[in-house]
């Protein structure tokens, strides 16, 4: 299975028509597919918090959207997620690479791997990890959960999902 194509298909099935993105190497293949999709408005941004704000604005235009960013990028915008999306109860669906897991041997991801979930818990941002290809079909449910919770929702993509087991 091409997991990136499957994720893209499920995003469309969830009704997403706009994606604001800033890539890391794990999310780049998904972003390329979004960029090539004429049915999706792709908004490349200069900083991850822009993606959060773009998707929040699009909500009020009646457009379903998603943020796509790397695990480090998520940590750059937790303040904006809290003060905009939590404050105003605006749902924002964030697809994030789960960097710093035990199989991600990049030393510059070690803090992200160890503390990101604790940060999300501190803000009470719900999250869900897709770890196996057969779980990709849960994406539309996760999208609806985000809307219902009316806050940031992080859908993590694991290294094992995107790159397979070693």
């Amino acid at each position: 299975m091409d997991v990136y194509a499957a994720i893209h298909d499920e995003l469309r099935a969830a009704g997403v028509r706009l994606a604001a993105t800033l890539p890391d190497d794990w999310t780049a293949p998904l972003i390329r597919r979004i960029d090539a999709d004429p049915a999706m408005r792709h908004v490349p941004v200069a900083r991850e918090a822009e993606a959060v704000a773009v998707c929040s604005g699009a909500f009020f235009g009646g457009v379903r959207s998603a943020v796509v960013m790397g695990g480090t990028g998520l940590l750059t915008c937790t303040g904006e997620l809290a003060t905009l999306n939590l404050r105003h109860q605006i749902p924002v669906f964030c697809i994030v690479s789960q960097r710093g897991s035990i199989d991600d041997h990049r030393v510059y991801q070690e803090v992200q791997g160890r503390r990101t979930k604790a940060v999300l818990d501190a803000y009470d941002f719900p999250y869900h990890t897709i770890d196996r290809p057969e779980e990709i079909a849960s994406l539309p449910d996760a999208y609806e959960a985000c809307r219902l919770q009316k806050r940031p929702f992080v859908l993590f993509l694991s290294r094992r999902l995107l790159k397979g087991s070693r």
Binding site: A53, G61, L84, P91
Partner: protein, 200 residues
């Protein structure tokens, strides 16, 4: 010119524009000038009102969308000029109230106040339309031309700082109510669906 004078000129020219205000002075002054509920007075994500407005503009390409930004807020997210230029949102008009200070914290000077040229920054980022107005007369006569041309535009409104903290009171609602008033106003006006059948 004073911020309120500039806001009055903008309010008179607003037409159907959907307005997003950066937190602090821009929001409070627009509320004082218009009492408008189909504006989003953004209380969080300092600097990112411009990006929020871009999202609105891209979702509603047939509607004019304004962001009332301010110099401090703009500089917290300078990259937005590149992102906006890259999206080429023709319906987006970006205003920057430039008074050289962080007004709401007691008129502390902006970083490198009076020296950075935001118009030049916008042009360098790729904006086709970028201009500055220093007085109400030229603003009143020049604004129509800015709005008639396709965006994205960046218009700097050079105003005097107030001497201390911002005296203008904020809007009388916040948080979730801000979300629902704005969203319902757009649903009524444009016939779009923002909230689902169960209200979220």
């Amino acid at each position: 010119m004073r911020t309120r004078e500039a806001m009055d000129v903008l309010a008179a020219a607003r037409g159907d524009a959907i307005v997003v205000c950066a937190l602090g002075m821009a929001a409070n002054e627009w509320w004082a000038a218009t009492g408008s509920e189909d504006a989003f007075y953004m209380h969080g994500a300092m600097g990112f009102a411009a990006s929020f407005a871009l999202g609105v503009a891209l979702a509603l390409p047939a509607e004019p969308v304004w962001v009332l930004n301010a110099d401090g807020s703009l500089c917290m997210n300078l990259g937005c000029l590149i992102t906006e230029a890259g999206q080429d949102a023709r319906n987006l008009h970006h205003f920057v109230v430039d008074n050289g200070v962080y007004q709401t914290v007691g008129a502390m000077p902006m970083v490198h106040a009076g020296q950075a040229d935001y118009v030049a920054l916008a042009r360098a980022a790729g904006f086709r339309s970028a201009q500055r107005f220093d007085d109400v007369v030229t603003l009143a006569t020049g604004l129509a031309g800015v709005l008639a041309a396709p965006g994205p535009s960046l218009t700097v409104l050079h105003v005097e700082a107030e001497p201390t903290h911002l005296g203008t009171p904020p809007m009388t609602y916040e948080g979730p109510e801000m979300k629902y008033r704005f969203g319902r106003a757009l649903e009524r006006r444009l016939g779009i669906t923002v909230f689902g059948p169960s209200g979220y």
